[in-house]
């Protein structure tokens, strides 16, 4: 069992957790993830570690309550337990030392780029972060980014906070006017957002690394469910990634494969919502 030590909401549907998981923490490097299973009968889901501390044996996760499992996870609080946490998984982020690195996070994808900032700063980069959401309420980690980045820009689609527009538009503006040449862009977030970022950097030939989030089961390369096409070649996000050269990724295919279980995800949400209204959440646990 893995104990939640601390938890708090960052936005109405985004929650931060500090969890005791000494084995996942001990060798964790930025860019790596864990596979988590909430309870008996739960599914295995991959989540990027926002931070980890080897000495205290803790990891930090930032989770958007979007499907049945992430909603159940976000219902948990300090002193609750999680059945299984396996990790660290995936290759660590390739830290590309250059004069100016730009981090682009869309929504909860900001939790994926946030841990890269200290490593890039250590490598001597000037680090700029762009974080965005549809509206002010959905922008997360702005304050935290400010402590680890040189510049932070916030974007909202409705203009309720910061730049009005999306993160790719802001990136365009930045690339056009930057006094330091941008050597690398790291992007994480919804597929359309990562695709938009790559479209902007491709013409300018700026190395762009994206962190991908396909559906996974085991996370060790055994099932092949997370296969994606990069540069015309089949790769597995869990062992070959999760970060890839964004200019080579087949985003259409990734977006399509992410919809494979849409019907079942809706059914699982119905079960979750039914449990919420009837307060019989523990029934699931009787099946083992």
């Amino acid at each position: 069992m893995f104990r939640i030590l601390d938890a708090r909401w960052l936005a109405s549907d985004v929650k931060w957790f500090r969890i005791r998981a000494p084995l996942a923490a001990r060798n964790r490097q930025p860019g790596q993830f864990v596979i988590l299973r909430l309870e008996e009968g739960g599914e295995r889901i991959p989540l990027t570690m926002a931070a980890a501390d080897r000495n205290s044996g803790t990891i930090e996760l930032i989770v958007k309550a979007i499907g049945a499992t992430t909603k159940r996870l976000c219902d948990l609080q300090a002193d609750d337990d999680i059945a299984d946490i396996m990790g660290p998984l995936g290759k660590p982020t390739e830290i590309h030392a250059c004069e100016h690195a730009v981090l682009v996070g869309g929504g909860v994808g900001t939790a994926v780029i946030y841990p890269l900032a200290p490593a890039l700063r250590e490598a001597g980069c000037h680090v700029t972060a762009i974080t965005g959401g549809r509206t002010r309420e959905l922008v997360v980690l702005e304050a935290e980014l400010k402590t680890v980045c040189d510049d932070v820009f916030v974007t909202t689609d409705d203009g309720s906070c910061g730049f009005r527009g999306n993160v790719a538009d802001k990136l365009d503006e930045l690339l056009a006017g930057a006094d330091r040449p941008v050597g690398v862009v790291y992007a994480a977030g919804p597929v359309p957002m990562m695709r938009a970022v790559c479209d902007r950097t491709r013409a300018k030939k700026i190395r762009t690394i994206v962190s991908l989030n396909p559906i996974m089961v085991d996370g060790t390369g055994m099932c092949g469910g997370c296969r994606i096409t990069v540069g015309g070649r089949q790769v597995f996000a869990c062992v070959d990634g999760p970060e890839f050269d964004g200019h080579e990724v087949d985003f259409d295919e990734l977006a399509d494969r992410l919809t494979a279980y849409r019907t079942q995800e809706r059914a699982a949400l119905d079960v979750y919502e039914h449990e919420q209204t009837h307060e019989c959440g523990s029934q699931r646990l009787s099946v083992s």
């Binding site: 084995l23 299973r37 599914e43 998984l89 060790t220 055994m222 469910g225 079960v271 099946v287």
Partner: protein
Amino acid sequence: MAMSPKDRIKIQRQSMPERDAGLRSGDFREVNIGFSIDLAQTESVRCLQCKDAKCSCGCPVGIPIPEFLERIAENDLPGAAEILLGANALPGITGRVCPQEEQCEQFCVRAKSKNGAPVAIGHLERFVADWARENMDIRQICAPPTGKKVAVVGSGPAGLTCAGELAKCGHDVTIFEALHTVGGVLTYGIPEFRLPNKIIEAEVDRLRQMGVKIICNVVVGRTFTVDELLTEEGFDAMFIANGAGLPVFMNIPGENYKGVYSANEYLTRTNLMRAYEFPVVDTPIIQGDRIAVIGGGNVAMDAVRTAKRLGAKVATLVYRRSRDEMPARREEVHHAEQEGIEFRMLTAPLRIIGDEKRWVRGLECQRMELGEPDDSGRRRPMAIPGSEFVIDCDVVIEAIGTRANPLLTATTPDLTLNKWGYIEVDDNGATSKPGVYAGGDITRGSATVILAMGDGKRAAMSIHDYLAAPAEAPAGV
């Protein structure tokens, strides 16, 4: 029960009682019911007690087969169990999943005569193992603690066997398992209708009673490197049995459409994650009406029979050679036929057809004929021009093999690998790294449960010798 060879030879092979094919293909309970004591005794008397027992030579772990069969015939089941368990730590598992027709039973003298059939050694092994589990206290007596710590990577058949043998010798054994459940391929791969989980749980409980520690959710190569286990964590030796790993895809068009699975994923979702109980459990699976499985081995057979149990109206097996070349166990082919699996032999897939939303709608294939024998000694399948046709289906499962998992080896640079990325070992199971041994699929590629167990047993003996030897320069110096 003294009976002359002449009388023995008159007895016909007893067949295994099975659950009705129509009933069983709708659930995941075990197909074989098991021998009764009467059937077991009748069958065991068929053994002619050859002095030069070829059957035992065909067994990768060298079970003294005539001896345990004779005890059954004498109604001495505890005696039979003692002999069997002395040679094979997991007989309840091997009795169910070994390809006996290629091993012990292939060499049975009873199979040599006209219309002869070998003694049903596998079924008798299963019988004795099940009887022992239910009727005996099979707690193993272990040697006094040696104070030596051994790490076992992976809790599949090789790891479990090695751990048991090392614990017997008094070593302090810890198994590291990557998944949340113990058993490796026995749990995520082989379906319950062939190998019920309770059999695996019983074997694992026995290891725990012997003092073996099991830690799940540890990916050696990431959570700990091999060197960290040997230095920081203080292990004196290690056995690597982390399995084969990555599924191979055919590299035909349409493989990334929705509804295409590797057999590993399809079986893991079903066996490990119990997706057939969705939405009571959280892991979903795409339940097709018409499912095509590509391949001819045991994994293909498990996948196609699982598809039937998940409710497929038509479950088809597509194999490019003929039935004679299929590597699957004969009993599985027989059971699959009874359960209404459609066999499309001499058929090679060309591409997967999808609709405008990229859902699988069919598998385009080509008919084949057999030519001259190839390198494997099997007749080479050759395409018949103009024979293309489409199998209508909404799920395609590829079961064509696996390749080496790089997670552990990539972070252990001083392990010598062969050209396919599998770990090289010598006849004792030793790797190029002192104190580190390996076995099972990570050394062989896709093989069988019993070969993995044989590796585990052999490596345990080598590790025991290594730990007993006077201290040499420690690893890494």
